[in-house]
Protein backbone atom coordinates (compact mmCIF):
# COMPACT_ATOMS: atom_id res chain seq x y z
CA UNK A 1 0.00 0.00 0.00
CA UNK A 2 1.71 3.14 -1.14
CA UNK A 3 -1.17 5.54 -0.92
CA UNK A 4 -2.96 7.50 1.75
CA UNK A 5 -4.15 5.15 4.48
CA UNK A 6 -7.26 7.33 4.72
CA UNK A 7 -8.29 7.03 1.07
CA UNK A 8 -10.48 3.91 0.79
CA UNK A 9 -10.09 3.21 -2.93
CA UNK A 10 -9.36 -0.30 -4.11
CA UNK A 11 -7.54 -0.66 -7.40
CA UNK A 12 -10.68 -1.82 -9.15
CA UNK A 13 -12.70 1.05 -7.75
CA UNK A 14 -10.10 3.50 -8.92
CA UNK A 15 -10.19 1.99 -12.37
CA UNK A 16 -13.97 2.13 -12.47
CA UNK A 17 -13.94 5.75 -11.40
CA UNK A 18 -11.30 6.71 -13.96
CA UNK A 19 -13.41 5.01 -16.61
CA UNK A 20 -16.46 6.93 -15.52
CA UNK A 21 -14.55 10.18 -15.80
CA UNK A 22 -13.03 9.08 -19.10
CA UNK A 23 -9.33 9.31 -18.36
CA UNK A 24 -6.55 6.75 -18.12
CA UNK A 25 -4.89 7.90 -14.96
CA UNK A 26 -5.22 10.20 -12.03
CA UNK A 27 -2.34 12.24 -13.44
CA UNK A 28 -4.42 13.12 -16.47
CA UNK A 29 -6.81 15.01 -14.20
CA UNK A 30 -4.19 17.52 -13.13
CA UNK A 31 -4.34 20.57 -15.36
CA UNK A 32 -0.90 21.86 -14.39
CA UNK A 33 1.47 23.33 -16.98
CA UNK A 34 4.62 21.26 -17.37
CA UNK A 35 6.84 24.19 -16.44
CA UNK A 36 5.50 24.36 -12.90
CA UNK A 37 5.14 20.62 -12.29
CA UNK A 38 7.04 19.38 -9.30
CA UNK A 39 8.94 16.17 -9.83
CA UNK A 40 11.12 16.23 -6.72
CA UNK A 41 10.67 14.56 -3.39
CA UNK A 42 10.07 15.76 0.14
CA UNK A 43 12.03 12.84 1.46
CA UNK A 44 9.39 11.89 4.02
CA UNK A 45 8.95 8.13 4.29
CA UNK A 46 5.43 6.86 4.84
CA UNK A 47 5.05 5.06 8.15
CA UNK A 48 2.67 2.65 9.77
CA UNK A 49 0.49 4.22 12.44
CA UNK A 50 2.58 2.54 15.09
CA UNK A 51 5.83 3.84 13.61
CA UNK A 52 4.45 7.35 13.10
CA UNK A 53 3.21 7.40 16.64
CA UNK A 54 6.56 6.21 17.92
CA UNK A 55 8.41 8.82 15.85
CA UNK A 56 6.41 11.71 17.27
CA UNK A 57 6.33 10.31 20.79
CA UNK A 58 10.07 9.80 20.87
CA UNK A 59 10.58 13.43 19.89
CA UNK A 60 8.15 14.59 22.56
CA UNK A 61 10.05 12.56 25.09
CA UNK A 62 12.92 15.03 24.59
CA UNK A 63 10.89 17.48 26.67
CA UNK A 64 12.17 17.39 30.23
CA UNK A 65 9.75 16.26 32.87
CA UNK A 66 9.54 19.39 35.01
CA UNK A 67 7.03 20.44 37.60
CA UNK A 68 5.95 23.84 36.35
CA UNK A 69 5.21 26.80 38.60
CA UNK A 70 4.50 28.92 35.55
CA UNK A 71 1.67 31.28 34.68
CA UNK A 72 1.81 34.85 33.36
CA UNK A 73 -1.29 34.45 31.22
CA UNK A 74 -1.16 30.71 30.49
CA UNK A 75 -2.43 28.48 33.29
CA UNK A 76 -2.69 24.84 34.16
CA UNK A 77 -5.76 23.64 36.02
CA UNK A 78 -6.85 20.05 36.36
CA UNK A 79 -9.17 19.10 33.51
CA UNK A 80 -11.64 16.38 34.51
CA UNK A 81 -11.62 13.26 32.34
CA UNK A 82 -15.25 13.79 31.46
CA UNK A 83 -14.23 16.88 29.47
CA UNK A 84 -11.73 14.95 27.35
CA UNK A 85 -14.09 12.12 26.64
CA UNK A 86 -17.09 14.24 25.77
CA UNK A 87 -15.21 16.83 23.73
CA UNK A 88 -13.48 14.09 21.76
CA UNK A 89 -16.80 12.71 20.54
CA UNK A 90 -16.36 12.75 16.80
CA UNK A 91 -19.64 14.57 16.18
CA UNK A 92 -18.10 17.55 17.97
CA UNK A 93 -14.45 17.48 17.09
CA UNK A 94 -14.79 16.53 13.41
CA UNK A 95 -17.61 18.94 12.63
CA UNK A 96 -17.37 22.24 10.80
CA UNK A 97 -18.57 25.77 11.50
CA UNK A 98 -22.33 25.61 11.89
CA UNK A 99 -23.43 26.98 8.52
CA UNK A 100 -26.12 24.26 8.28
CA UNK A 101 -27.79 24.72 11.65
CA UNK A 102 -30.33 21.93 11.12
CA UNK A 103 -27.53 19.36 11.49
CA UNK A 104 -25.42 21.34 13.95
CA UNK A 105 -27.84 21.98 16.79
CA UNK A 106 -25.60 20.24 19.30
CA UNK A 107 -22.54 22.40 18.81
CA UNK A 108 -24.62 25.53 18.40
CA UNK A 109 -26.36 24.92 21.69
CA UNK A 110 -23.04 24.20 23.41
CA UNK A 111 -21.64 27.48 22.10
CA UNK A 112 -24.81 29.33 23.09
CA UNK A 113 -24.34 27.96 26.59
CA UNK A 114 -20.68 29.00 26.53
CA UNK A 115 -21.73 32.54 25.56
CA UNK A 116 -24.27 32.53 28.37
CA UNK A 117 -21.67 31.46 30.94
CA UNK A 118 -19.52 34.41 29.89
CA UNK A 119 -22.51 36.72 30.13
CA UNK A 120 -22.99 35.58 33.71
CA UNK A 121 -19.31 35.78 34.57
CA UNK A 122 -18.70 39.22 33.04
CA UNK A 123 -22.07 40.87 33.63
CA UNK A 124 -21.98 42.05 30.02
CA UNK A 125 -24.76 41.28 27.56
CA UNK A 126 -22.90 39.73 24.66
CA UNK A 127 -20.11 37.19 24.36
CA UNK A 128 -18.82 35.80 21.08
CA UNK A 129 -17.96 32.16 20.66
CA UNK A 130 -14.20 32.69 20.74
CA UNK A 131 -11.07 34.47 19.61
CA UNK A 132 -7.70 32.74 19.18
CA UNK A 133 -6.21 33.79 22.51
CA UNK A 134 -6.07 36.59 25.04
CA UNK A 135 -3.62 38.60 22.96
CA UNK A 136 -5.63 38.55 19.74
CA UNK A 137 -8.81 39.27 21.71
CA UNK A 138 -7.12 42.39 23.05
CA UNK A 139 -6.17 43.36 19.51
CA UNK A 140 -9.79 42.91 18.44
CA UNK A 141 -10.98 45.06 21.34
CA UNK A 142 -8.76 47.89 20.14
CA UNK A 143 -10.06 47.74 16.59
CA UNK A 144 -13.60 47.59 17.98
CA UNK A 145 -12.90 50.84 19.84
CA UNK A 146 -11.72 52.31 16.56
CA UNK A 147 -15.00 51.44 14.84
CA UNK A 148 -17.41 52.62 17.52
CA UNK A 149 -18.92 55.98 16.78
CA UNK A 150 -19.44 56.63 20.48
CA UNK A 151 -15.70 56.41 21.04
CA UNK A 152 -13.40 59.28 20.20
CA UNK A 153 -9.63 59.41 19.88
CA UNK A 154 -6.90 57.18 18.60
CA UNK A 155 -4.72 56.40 21.62
CA UNK A 156 -4.86 53.00 23.27
CA UNK A 157 -3.50 53.04 26.82
CA UNK A 158 -2.08 49.86 28.29
CA UNK A 159 -0.22 49.16 31.53
CA UNK A 160 3.57 49.30 31.36
CA UNK A 161 3.68 45.75 32.70
CA UNK A 162 1.57 44.32 29.89
CA UNK A 163 2.72 40.85 28.84
CA UNK A 164 5.11 41.18 25.88
CA UNK A 165 3.15 38.71 23.77
CA UNK A 166 -0.08 40.63 24.24
CA UNK A 167 1.64 43.93 23.55
CA UNK A 168 3.25 42.55 20.41
CA UNK A 169 -0.04 41.29 19.00
CA UNK A 170 -1.82 44.52 19.91
CA UNK A 171 0.81 46.52 18.03
CA UNK A 172 0.16 44.48 14.91
CA UNK A 173 -3.63 44.62 15.17
CA UNK A 174 -3.65 48.42 15.36
CA UNK A 175 -1.04 48.86 12.63
CA UNK A 176 -3.60 49.00 9.85
CA UNK A 177 -5.61 51.83 11.37
CA UNK A 178 -5.01 55.15 13.03
CA UNK A 179 -4.53 53.81 16.54
CA UNK A 180 -1.34 54.16 18.55
CA UNK A 181 -0.48 52.23 21.69
CA UNK A 182 0.97 53.97 24.73
CA UNK A 183 1.74 52.73 28.20
CA UNK A 184 0.71 54.15 31.54
CA UNK A 185 2.56 53.45 34.79
CA UNK A 186 1.70 50.92 37.41
CA UNK A 187 2.49 51.24 41.07
CA UNK A 188 3.28 48.20 43.15
CA UNK A 189 1.88 46.00 40.41
CA UNK A 190 -1.46 47.73 40.02
CA UNK A 191 -2.78 50.59 37.86
CA UNK A 192 -1.38 53.93 38.99
CA UNK A 193 -4.75 55.62 38.85
CA UNK A 194 -3.45 59.16 39.30
CA UNK A 195 -0.89 58.76 36.56
CA UNK A 196 -3.52 57.20 34.34
CA UNK A 197 -5.89 60.10 34.96
CA UNK A 198 -3.25 62.47 33.64
CA UNK A 199 -2.97 60.49 30.44
CA UNK A 200 -6.62 59.91 29.60
CA UNK A 201 -8.20 62.65 27.53
CA UNK A 202 -10.40 63.15 24.47
CA UNK A 203 -7.74 61.57 22.26
CA UNK A 204 -8.01 58.29 24.12
CA UNK A 205 -9.87 55.52 22.30
CA UNK A 206 -9.37 52.73 24.80
CA UNK A 207 -8.05 52.14 28.29
CA UNK A 208 -6.92 48.61 29.01
CA UNK A 209 -6.32 47.13 32.44
CA UNK A 210 -6.03 43.58 33.75
CA UNK A 211 -7.39 41.86 36.80
CA UNK A 212 -5.51 39.92 37.99
CA UNK A 213 -2.44 41.58 36.54
CA UNK A 214 0.37 39.77 34.80
CA UNK A 215 2.21 39.80 38.13
CA UNK A 216 -0.68 38.11 39.87
CA UNK A 217 -1.89 41.14 41.82
CA UNK A 218 -5.57 41.88 42.27
CA UNK A 219 -6.62 45.39 41.23
CA UNK A 220 -8.29 47.81 43.61
CA UNK A 221 -10.49 50.66 42.45
CA UNK A 222 -11.10 49.56 38.90
CA UNK A 223 -14.38 51.46 38.99
CA UNK A 224 -12.42 54.70 38.87
CA UNK A 225 -10.69 53.45 35.72
CA UNK A 226 -14.09 52.73 34.24
CA UNK A 227 -15.32 56.20 35.14
CA UNK A 228 -12.22 57.79 33.70
CA UNK A 229 -12.68 56.04 30.37
CA UNK A 230 -16.36 56.85 30.33
CA UNK A 231 -15.83 60.55 31.00
CA UNK A 232 -13.62 60.79 27.96
CA UNK A 233 -15.68 58.68 25.54
CA UNK A 234 -13.10 55.93 25.61
CA UNK A 235 -13.70 52.22 25.77
CA UNK A 236 -12.71 50.44 28.97
CA UNK A 237 -11.44 46.95 28.20
CA UNK A 238 -10.64 44.61 31.03
CA UNK A 239 -8.34 41.63 30.64
CA UNK A 240 -8.93 38.66 32.95
CA UNK A 241 -9.35 34.90 32.89
CA UNK A 242 -12.16 32.44 33.25
CA UNK A 243 -11.33 31.42 36.83
CA UNK A 244 -10.69 34.90 38.17
CA UNK A 245 -14.06 36.01 36.79
CA UNK A 246 -15.80 33.74 39.28
CA UNK A 247 -14.42 35.65 42.24
CA UNK A 248 -13.16 39.11 41.40
CA UNK A 249 -15.33 42.16 40.91
CA UNK A 250 -17.79 41.68 38.07
CA UNK A 251 -16.38 43.57 35.06
CA UNK A 252 -19.70 45.23 34.22
CA UNK A 253 -19.95 46.60 37.75
CA UNK A 254 -16.65 48.44 37.37
CA UNK A 255 -17.71 49.93 34.06
CA UNK A 256 -15.96 47.57 31.65
CA UNK A 257 -17.32 47.87 28.10
CA UNK A 258 -15.35 44.89 26.86
CA UNK A 259 -13.83 41.88 28.58
CA UNK A 260 -11.04 39.88 26.98
CA UNK A 261 -8.68 37.29 28.35
CA UNK A 262 -7.83 33.66 28.55
CA UNK A 263 -10.50 30.99 28.69
CA UNK A 264 -8.26 27.97 28.28
CA UNK A 265 -7.26 28.00 31.94
CA UNK A 266 -10.32 25.78 32.15
CA UNK A 267 -10.72 22.98 29.66
CA UNK A 268 -7.26 22.84 28.21
CA UNK A 269 -4.47 23.16 30.73
CA UNK A 270 -0.87 23.81 29.81
CA UNK A 271 -0.59 23.59 26.03
CA UNK A 272 2.45 25.64 25.08
CA UNK A 273 0.39 28.81 24.74
CA UNK A 274 -2.47 27.23 22.76
CA UNK A 275 -5.38 29.10 24.24
CA UNK A 276 -8.89 30.48 24.00
CA UNK A 277 -9.60 34.17 23.64
CA UNK A 278 -12.54 35.38 25.68
CA UNK A 279 -14.50 38.26 24.21
CA UNK A 280 -17.56 39.84 25.80
CA UNK A 281 -18.96 43.32 25.39
CA UNK A 282 -21.94 45.54 26.01
CA UNK A 283 -25.11 44.73 24.16
CA UNK A 284 -26.09 48.17 22.90
CA UNK A 285 -27.06 48.25 19.31
CA UNK A 286 -23.80 49.86 18.24
CA UNK A 287 -21.73 47.19 19.96
CA UNK A 288 -23.86 44.44 18.46
CA UNK A 289 -23.17 45.78 15.00
CA UNK A 290 -19.44 45.99 15.57
CA UNK A 291 -18.55 42.98 17.71
CA UNK A 292 -15.98 40.73 16.00
CA UNK A 293 -16.26 36.94 15.75
CA UNK A 294 -19.11 34.48 15.58
CA UNK A 295 -22.30 34.75 17.56
CA UNK A 296 -24.88 32.04 18.19
CA UNK A 297 -28.46 33.20 18.61
CA UNK A 298 -31.65 31.49 19.64
CA UNK A 299 -34.45 31.09 17.16
CA UNK A 300 -37.17 28.61 16.25
CA UNK A 301 -37.40 25.86 13.69
CA UNK A 302 -40.31 25.22 11.34
CA UNK A 303 -42.17 23.37 14.11
CA UNK A 304 -41.72 26.32 16.49
CA UNK A 305 -39.25 24.43 18.65
CA UNK A 306 -36.34 26.35 20.10
CA UNK A 307 -33.33 26.15 17.84
CA UNK A 308 -29.98 27.84 17.47
CA UNK A 309 -28.15 29.41 14.58
CA UNK A 310 -25.14 31.55 13.84
CA UNK A 311 -26.45 35.06 13.61
CA UNK A 312 -25.59 38.64 12.68
CA UNK A 313 -23.24 37.11 10.13
CA UNK A 314 -23.20 40.22 7.97
CA UNK A 315 -20.50 41.52 10.32
CA UNK A 316 -18.20 38.72 9.21
CA UNK A 317 -15.62 38.41 6.47
CA UNK A 318 -17.47 35.88 4.32
CA UNK A 319 -20.19 38.45 3.73
CA UNK A 320 -18.80 41.91 4.43
CA UNK A 321 -15.31 41.22 3.10
CA UNK A 322 -13.04 44.29 3.45
CA UNK A 323 -15.59 46.00 5.65
CA UNK A 324 -15.92 43.08 8.05
CA UNK A 325 -15.44 43.66 11.77
CA UNK A 326 -12.51 41.20 11.72
CA UNK A 327 -10.89 38.75 9.32
CA UNK A 328 -11.40 35.88 11.78
CA UNK A 329 -12.92 32.73 10.29
CA UNK A 330 -11.62 29.61 12.06
CA UNK A 331 -11.71 30.38 15.76
CA UNK A 332 -11.27 28.20 18.87
CA UNK A 333 -14.77 26.73 18.99
CA UNK A 334 -13.69 23.31 20.24
CA UNK A 335 -11.67 24.87 23.05
CA UNK A 336 -14.72 26.96 23.96
CA UNK A 337 -16.71 23.74 24.07
CA UNK A 338 -14.16 22.23 26.45
CA UNK A 339 -14.14 25.32 28.62
CA UNK A 340 -17.93 25.31 28.87
CA UNK A 341 -17.84 21.62 29.81
CA UNK A 342 -15.27 22.32 32.49
CA UNK A 343 -17.27 25.24 33.90
CA UNK A 344 -20.40 23.10 33.97
CA UNK A 345 -18.50 20.27 35.60
CA UNK A 346 -17.31 22.54 38.39
CA UNK A 347 -20.64 24.26 38.88
CA UNK A 348 -20.78 27.64 40.61
CA UNK A 349 -19.61 26.24 43.94
CA UNK A 350 -16.69 24.44 42.45
CA UNK A 351 -15.67 27.40 40.35
CA UNK A 352 -15.77 29.86 43.24
CA UNK A 353 -13.88 27.38 45.38
CA UNK A 354 -11.20 27.02 42.70
CA UNK A 355 -10.89 30.80 42.51
CA UNK A 356 -10.70 31.12 46.29
CA UNK A 357 -8.06 28.41 46.35
CA UNK A 358 -6.11 30.43 43.82
CA UNK A 359 -5.98 33.32 46.29
CA UNK A 360 -5.11 31.09 49.21
CA UNK A 361 -2.41 29.13 47.39
CA UNK A 362 -0.66 32.29 46.21
CA UNK A 363 -0.75 33.77 49.71
CA UNK A 364 0.43 30.63 51.47
CA UNK A 365 3.16 29.87 48.98
CA UNK A 366 4.46 33.44 49.07
CA UNK A 367 4.59 33.21 52.85
CA UNK A 368 6.53 29.96 52.72
CA UNK A 369 9.07 31.42 50.32
CA UNK A 370 9.27 34.64 52.31
CA UNK A 371 10.36 32.63 55.31
CA UNK A 372 13.48 31.53 53.42
CA UNK A 373 16.71 33.43 53.67
CA UNK A 374 17.43 35.16 50.40
CA UNK A 375 13.79 35.47 49.28
CA UNK A 376 11.21 38.18 49.86
CA UNK A 377 7.69 37.35 48.75
CA UNK A 378 5.49 38.72 47.56
CA UNK A 379 7.21 41.75 46.06
CA UNK A 380 3.93 43.60 45.79
CA UNK A 381 1.95 44.48 48.85
CA UNK A 382 -1.28 43.38 47.21
CA UNK A 383 -3.73 40.54 47.22
CA UNK A 384 -2.73 37.89 44.72
CA UNK A 385 -4.40 35.42 42.44
CA UNK A 386 -2.64 32.15 41.59
CA UNK A 387 0.80 33.72 41.27
CA UNK A 388 3.14 36.29 42.73
CA UNK A 389 6.55 37.81 42.15
CA UNK A 390 9.32 37.09 44.64
CA UNK A 391 12.56 38.98 45.08
CA UNK A 392 15.66 36.82 45.22
CA UNK A 393 19.09 38.00 46.34
CA UNK A 394 20.85 35.90 43.72
CA UNK A 395 20.42 36.61 39.98
CA UNK A 396 16.97 35.37 38.93
CA UNK A 397 18.19 33.61 35.78
CA UNK A 398 20.62 31.56 37.83
CA UNK A 399 17.92 30.68 40.33
CA UNK A 400 15.59 29.56 37.55
CA UNK A 401 18.34 27.45 35.98
CA UNK A 402 19.24 25.87 39.30
CA UNK A 403 15.62 25.11 40.02
CA UNK A 404 15.29 23.51 36.61
CA UNK A 405 18.14 21.21 37.49
CA UNK A 406 16.08 20.24 40.52
CA UNK A 407 13.06 19.54 38.32
CA UNK A 408 11.09 22.77 38.74
CA UNK A 409 10.26 25.59 36.32
CA UNK A 410 9.66 29.22 37.40
CA UNK A 411 9.74 32.52 35.54
CA UNK A 412 12.73 34.83 35.84
CA UNK A 413 10.98 38.16 35.29
CA UNK A 414 13.65 40.64 36.39
CA UNK A 415 17.27 40.63 37.38
CA UNK A 416 16.34 39.58 40.88
CA UNK A 417 12.71 38.62 40.49
CA UNK A 418 11.14 35.24 39.93
CA UNK A 419 7.44 34.60 39.43
CA UNK A 420 5.68 31.59 40.87
CA UNK A 421 2.24 30.24 39.99
CA UNK A 422 0.44 27.62 42.07
CA UNK A 423 -2.65 25.63 41.17
CA UNK A 424 -4.08 22.29 42.15
CA UNK A 425 -1.86 20.62 39.53
CA UNK A 426 1.45 21.49 41.19
CA UNK A 427 0.33 22.05 44.77
CA UNK A 428 1.28 18.51 45.75
CA UNK A 429 4.88 19.31 44.76
CA UNK A 430 5.10 22.40 46.96
CA UNK A 431 7.11 20.89 49.78
CA UNK A 432 9.78 19.73 47.39
CA UNK A 433 9.67 23.01 45.54
CA UNK A 434 10.10 25.12 48.65
CA UNK A 435 12.96 22.90 49.74
CA UNK A 436 14.59 23.27 46.33
CA UNK A 437 14.20 27.06 46.44
CA UNK A 438 15.73 27.17 49.88
CA UNK A 439 18.71 25.23 48.47
CA UNK A 440 19.28 27.36 45.40
CA UNK A 441 18.77 30.83 46.88
CA UNK A 442 21.61 30.59 49.34
Amino acid sequence: MSGSPYAPHTTSETTAMLDAVGVDSEEALFDIPESVRFDGEFGIDAKSEQAARRAVASKLADNDDLTEFLGRGHYDHYVPSVVDHLADRSEFITSYTQYQPEVAQGFLQALFEYQSMLVELTGLDVANCSMYDAATALGEAATLADRLRSVSGTRVLVPDLLHEGRRGVLDNYVAGGDLTVETYPTTDGNVDREALAERVDETTAMVYAENPTVRGTIEEGLDTVGDLADEHDALFTLGTDIVALALLEEPASVGADVVVGDGSALGLGSAYGFGLGLFACRGDREFLRQVPGRLVGASEDSDDRRAYTLTLQTREQHIRRERATSNICSNQAWVALRTAMHVASLGPDGLVELANDSVRRARETAARLDALTGVQAPVHDRHHFREFVARVDQPAEAIAADLEAEGYAVHAVGDHEIQVCVTETNEQALDGFVAAVSEVVR
Binding site: R285, R289, Q313, T314, I319, R320, R323
Partner: protein, 126 residues
Protein backbone atom coordinates in the same frame (compact mmCIF):
# COMPACT_ATOMS: atom_id res chain seq x y z
CA UNK B 1 -43.00 38.64 -11.64
CA UNK B 2 -44.18 42.19 -11.45
CA UNK B 3 -43.24 44.66 -8.78
CA UNK B 4 -44.93 47.73 -7.44
CA UNK B 5 -43.65 50.98 -8.82
CA UNK B 6 -44.85 54.30 -7.44
CA UNK B 7 -45.51 56.81 -10.19
CA UNK B 8 -45.01 59.73 -7.77
CA UNK B 9 -41.40 58.75 -7.29
CA UNK B 10 -38.16 59.16 -9.18
CA UNK B 11 -35.54 56.43 -9.11
CA UNK B 12 -31.90 55.58 -9.11
CA UNK B 13 -30.64 52.63 -11.12
CA UNK B 14 -29.44 51.23 -7.79
CA UNK B 15 -33.12 50.87 -6.77
CA UNK B 16 -33.64 53.78 -4.39
CA UNK B 17 -36.73 55.94 -4.78
CA UNK B 18 -37.31 59.59 -3.87
CA UNK B 19 -40.77 61.12 -3.47
CA UNK B 20 -40.81 64.94 -3.41
CA UNK B 21 -43.33 66.56 -1.11
CA UNK B 22 -42.95 70.31 -0.84
CA UNK B 23 -39.53 71.28 0.49
CA UNK B 24 -38.67 67.80 1.56
CA UNK B 25 -38.49 64.42 -0.06
CA UNK B 26 -38.73 60.91 1.27
CA UNK B 27 -36.23 58.26 0.31
CA UNK B 28 -36.53 54.49 0.37
CA UNK B 29 -35.78 51.37 -1.64
CA UNK B 30 -38.03 49.82 -4.24
CA UNK B 31 -40.24 46.77 -4.11
CA UNK B 32 -37.90 45.12 -6.61
CA UNK B 33 -34.91 45.83 -4.35
CA UNK B 34 -36.53 44.44 -1.21
CA UNK B 35 -37.47 41.31 -3.07
CA UNK B 36 -33.92 40.84 -4.33
CA UNK B 37 -32.56 41.30 -0.83
CA UNK B 38 -34.90 38.92 0.88
CA UNK B 39 -35.87 39.38 4.50
CA UNK B 40 -34.36 42.64 5.69
CA UNK B 41 -32.89 42.28 9.17
CA UNK B 42 -31.12 45.58 9.65
CA UNK B 43 -31.07 49.11 8.31
CA UNK B 44 -28.30 51.56 9.11
CA UNK B 45 -29.22 55.18 8.51
CA UNK B 46 -27.66 58.59 9.14
CA UNK B 47 -28.92 60.75 11.99
CA UNK B 48 -31.17 63.75 11.78
CA UNK B 49 -29.11 66.78 10.81
CA UNK B 50 -26.57 64.79 8.83
CA UNK B 51 -26.14 65.62 5.16
CA UNK B 52 -26.54 63.15 2.36
CA UNK B 53 -25.06 63.65 -1.09
CA UNK B 54 -26.62 62.63 -4.36
CA UNK B 55 -25.21 59.39 -5.75
CA UNK B 56 -23.21 58.75 -2.62
CA UNK B 57 -23.75 56.14 0.08
CA UNK B 58 -25.95 57.14 2.97
CA UNK B 59 -26.52 53.87 4.74
CA UNK B 60 -26.70 50.13 4.58
CA UNK B 61 -29.46 47.58 4.37
CA UNK B 62 -28.84 43.98 5.35
CA UNK B 63 -30.53 40.67 4.88
CA UNK B 64 -29.29 37.46 6.50
CA UNK B 65 -26.59 36.86 3.95
CA UNK B 66 -26.14 40.14 2.10
CA UNK B 67 -25.18 43.71 2.75
CA UNK B 68 -26.14 46.47 0.33
CA UNK B 69 -25.14 50.09 0.32
CA UNK B 70 -27.86 52.67 0.01
CA UNK B 71 -27.31 55.58 -2.38
CA UNK B 72 -28.92 58.98 -2.04
CA UNK B 73 -31.04 60.02 -5.02
CA UNK B 74 -30.80 63.68 -3.92
CA UNK B 75 -28.56 65.85 -1.75
CA UNK B 76 -29.64 67.62 1.40
CA UNK B 77 -29.91 67.66 5.17
CA UNK B 78 -31.75 64.82 6.84
CA UNK B 79 -34.84 66.21 8.54
CA UNK B 80 -36.35 62.91 9.63
CA UNK B 81 -35.28 59.29 9.98
CA UNK B 82 -37.71 56.39 10.06
CA UNK B 83 -36.64 55.06 13.43
CA UNK B 84 -39.31 52.38 13.31
CA UNK B 85 -37.00 50.48 10.98
CA UNK B 86 -34.51 49.93 13.77
CA UNK B 87 -36.95 47.66 15.56
CA UNK B 88 -39.08 46.64 12.60
CA UNK B 89 -36.77 46.27 9.60
CA UNK B 90 -39.42 44.02 8.07
CA UNK B 91 -41.35 47.18 7.13
CA UNK B 92 -38.91 47.53 4.23
CA UNK B 93 -40.17 44.20 2.92
CA UNK B 94 -43.80 44.68 3.78
CA UNK B 95 -44.32 48.23 2.57
CA UNK B 96 -41.25 49.57 0.73
CA UNK B 97 -42.98 52.68 -0.63
CA UNK B 98 -44.95 53.36 2.54
CA UNK B 99 -44.05 52.51 6.13
CA UNK B 100 -40.70 51.20 4.93
CA UNK B 101 -39.45 54.69 3.98
CA UNK B 102 -35.99 55.57 5.30
CA UNK B 103 -35.16 59.28 5.26
CA UNK B 104 -36.77 62.62 4.78
CA UNK B 105 -34.38 65.12 3.24
CA UNK B 106 -34.50 68.88 2.57
CA UNK B 107 -33.62 68.72 -1.09
CA UNK B 108 -33.11 70.90 -4.15
CA UNK B 109 -35.57 70.31 -6.94
CA UNK B 110 -32.78 70.43 -9.51
CA UNK B 111 -31.41 67.26 -7.96
CA UNK B 112 -34.28 65.38 -9.53
CA UNK B 113 -32.72 65.98 -12.94
CA UNK B 114 -31.23 62.85 -14.33
CA UNK B 115 -33.16 60.49 -12.07
CA UNK B 116 -35.22 57.78 -13.70
CA UNK B 117 -38.93 58.24 -14.11
CA UNK B 118 -41.24 55.48 -12.97
CA UNK B 119 -41.55 54.44 -16.58
CA UNK B 120 -37.82 54.31 -17.11
CA UNK B 121 -37.29 52.42 -13.87
CA UNK B 122 -39.89 49.87 -14.88
CA UNK B 123 -38.04 49.32 -18.15
CA UNK B 124 -34.86 48.75 -16.21
CA UNK B 125 -36.29 46.08 -13.97
CA UNK B 126 -38.08 44.13 -16.64
Amino acid sequence: MSFDIDTDCRYLESHEWVRPDGDTARIGITDFAQDELGDVVFVELPSEGDDVTKAEEFGVVESIKAVSDLYAPVSGAVVAVNERLFDEPELVNDDPFGDGWMLEVAYEESDLDGLLTAEEYRDQTE
